[in-house]
């Protein structure tokens, strides 16, 4: 395995509302290596997206990064100036968002949107940016790319729009691609095409990928390693194969049980009862304890540490499976 490209260390991001503080991300640590695809999985509201926005320091107000370090190529992003961050965004670290149509400025053509980053970061002329934009559209598998350059986002299908987003993200050959639920709005067949595309691009360009999803099926198909998040904390992490095969955290287990299994229609799906805790009012102990069937008094008494188990895995549970 190569060295760490991105290292997130004890990240805390909180939203300070009038009367309460929403603790969206609470001491999250993980790493992405060069050429590695890391998945962050969990229910909605687990703080996955906020964690990712924190990396680019794009957390919307009133959110604030309270604590932690985000090391990228060895330098802490949290101490960089806004100007340095702008240099980084879209160039070395780029991002793909969940809802492609709403993430593309409707008033600009696809060509202009892709070319924008090239003109900004690479100093390309308009003409050259357009040529490069066409190449990028071809790279992400859009047929007849030259004609598509003059289309507006709403004139493309959802899958095409997401490919355009990816083309924008790839335009300056980033070292790290962050993708926030990029396939949820898409049909399953298109979803698979996009996953294959990302894998193929990773192999070709050697970038690191951070892929956020609430779908463990996507994680299984795409990722090398997985981080399971719940209520702003990491519950478990490790390589995808072993985590999904032998989950150690009860939450991971329940997530896997909630998945439909191909070829076993008779098996009933197991939804997780209860709701995630209110992020403005988190419990003292394990946040999953109220919904956990194996929880004992100790679980709710004090904070549960994330324990590394030596085989590249870590789990935040007092009574792990295995």
């Amino acid at each position: 395995m190569g060295q760490a490209l991105l290292e997130v260390d004890d990240l805390h991001t909180h939203f300070h509302l009038k009367k309460k503080t929403v603790r969206a991300v609470n001491g999250v640590s993980f790493a992405v290596r060069r050429g590695e695809i890391v998945g962050i999985a969990g229910e909605s509201g687990a703080g996955k997206s906020v964690a990712c926005l924190s990396i680019l320091r794009l957390v919307p107000s009133p959110g604030r990064i309270e604590r932690g370090r985000i090391l990228f190529g060895g330098a802490n992003l949290l101490t960089k100036s806004e100007r340095e961050m702008r240099e980084l965004r879209g160039q070395t670290v780029s991002m793909v968002f969940e809802d492609p149509l709403n993430s593309l400025d409707p008033a600009f053509t696809v060509g202009a949107l892709i070319g924008e980053a090239l003109i900004l970061h690479k100093g390309l002329s308009r003409r050259n940016a357009r040529t490069k934009a066409g190449e990028l559209l071809r790279l992400v598998g859009i047929p007849d790319p030259e004609r598509r350059l003059d289309n507006y986002p709403h004139e493309l299908s959802g899958g095409m729009q997401q490919r355009v987003m990816i083309a924008i993200a790839l335009s300056c050959d980033p070292a790290l691609l962050i993708a926030d639920n990029p396939t949820t709005a898409l049909d399953v067949t298109i979803q698979i095409q996009i996953l294959d595309l990302v894998k193929h691009l990773r192999d070709r360009l050697g970038m690191g990928v951070l892929w956020i999803t609430h779908d463990l099926g996507v994680v299984a198909k795409l990722c090398d390693r997985v981080v399971i998040m719940y209520a702003g904390e990491v519950m478990e992490q490790g390589d995808v194969y072993s985590v999904l095969k032998r989950p150690r955290h009860p939450y991971t287990r329940r997530l896997i049980d909630a998945l439909p299994k191909l070829g076993r229609p008779e098996q009933r799906l197991m939804p997780i009862e209860g709701r995630p805790p209110d992020p403005a009012n988190l419990p003292v102990g394990c946040p999953f304890a109220p919904r956990c069937q194996k929880a004992r008094a100790e679980c709710e008494a004090a904070e549960v540490p994330l324990i590394e188990t030596g085989d590249g895995r870590a789990v935040r549970c007092l009574f792990p499976e295995d």
Binding site: R89, G90, M95, F97, N102, S103, A107, E116, L120, I168
Partner: protein
């Protein structure tokens, strides 16, 4: 786009016809007989009857209407009762004076409204935002005639910076542009005030809406500076509603100019309407209202077309 254009242009024809009917009927609402009004109470019955016939007043309503419309379409608005000249020769020069005033105030509206709105919209809850939004709330509710009086007291009577009334200086040998502009400052500000305040508030809110859009975050993630985001992407997206409201305000300016013209004795169509009402010279009122409304409808049409042309969803259709 062509289909849209055709549809939109075609749709104003019935509206304009309706407007002409309303304007025509409005004059029929007048209590009393026009022939009597023209000739005065001392006129004999035969004379009144003759005038009625020559004016076509003895014919059925719709005949009167179509005769009137036919003449209007040829630019003939009849004779003024008060000064006994063709209405058209009275109204047109006044109309252009009002156009000048409207353009002047429109310029103020757009510059002030857009400037204040954009700055407020990108710095929500800053001191500038708070002060300018309180101020626009007050100004938006200030009667133009009152504001005109106050400006006149302060800047014309007390400070003497600007002339109090008229379009050109009496002493000047011939009208010059700089003299005109000097006279226009106070009336234009008076006319523009309410609209500028409304535009500023609207620009602010449409900017706030755009700036909260998801794609703005995506643009930040691309590495764009806040300035690029506001000026390139914010402007382009906020533009259609802004153009819309500016177009609507043109009509408001043309209507509101009436009060300004009365206060500052600006020889425009509003002052003409006012003095014609006082003189009961109704054909002039009729013509002035018709012309102004016609222009208003055309301006709205133009606005809609521009907004449509800016929207790629309509342009490509």
């Amino acid at each position: 786009m062509l289909r849209y254009l055709f549809y939109r242009v075609a749709s104003i024809v019935p509206v304009l016809l309706g407007v002409s009917v309303v304007v025509f009927l409005m004059m029929k609402l007048v209590p009393g007989d026009p022939a009597e009004a023209i000739l005065g109470p001392a006129a004999s019955t035969e004379k009144i009857e003759m005038l009625r016939r020559s004016l076509g007043l003895d014919r059925p309503f719709y005949v009167q209407y179509f005769r009137w419309l036919w003449k209007v379409l040829q630019g003939d608005f009849g004779m003024s009762i008060a000064v006994n000249v063709p209405v058209a020769t009275l109204v047109w020069p006044k109309f252009w004076n009002t156009v000048l005033l409207t353009l002047g105030s429109l310029a103020i509206c757009v510059i002030v409204g857009l400037g204040v709105g954009v700055v407020s919209g990108t710095r929500q809850y800053s001191w500038f935002d708070r002060i300018s939004m309180s101020l626009t709330l007050v100004v938006a509710n200030t009667p133009a005639f009152w504001l005109g009086l106050i400006l006149m007291v302060v800047f014309a009577l007390r400070l003497g910076w600007f002339p109090a009334t008229g379009m050109y200086s009496m002493r000047a040998a011939e009208p010059t542009v700089s003299d005109l502009l000097h006279h226009m400052v106070l009336p234009a500000i008076t006319t523009a005030a309410v609209s500028a305040a409304i535009i500023a508030r609207l620009v602010r809110s449409s900017f706030l809406e755009v700036i909260r859009k998801h794609y703005i975050t995506a643009l930040r993630a691309k590495g764009l500076s806040e300035r690029d985001i506001v000026l390139r992407h914010g402007m382009k997206n906020a533009m259609p509603p802004i153009i819309n409201i500016v177009g609507l305000q043109v009509g408001y300016l043309m209507g509101g100019a009436l009060f300004t013209e009365v206060v500052f004795s600006w020889p425009g169509i509003g002052l003409q309407i006012y003095s014609s009402i006082v003189a009961r010279d109704l054909p002039v009122v009729q013509a002035a209202v018709l012309v102004t409304t016609f222009v208003f409808v055309l301006v709205n049409l133009g606005t809609d077309v521009v907004v449509a042309a800016l929207d790629p969803r309509i342009r490509r259709a």
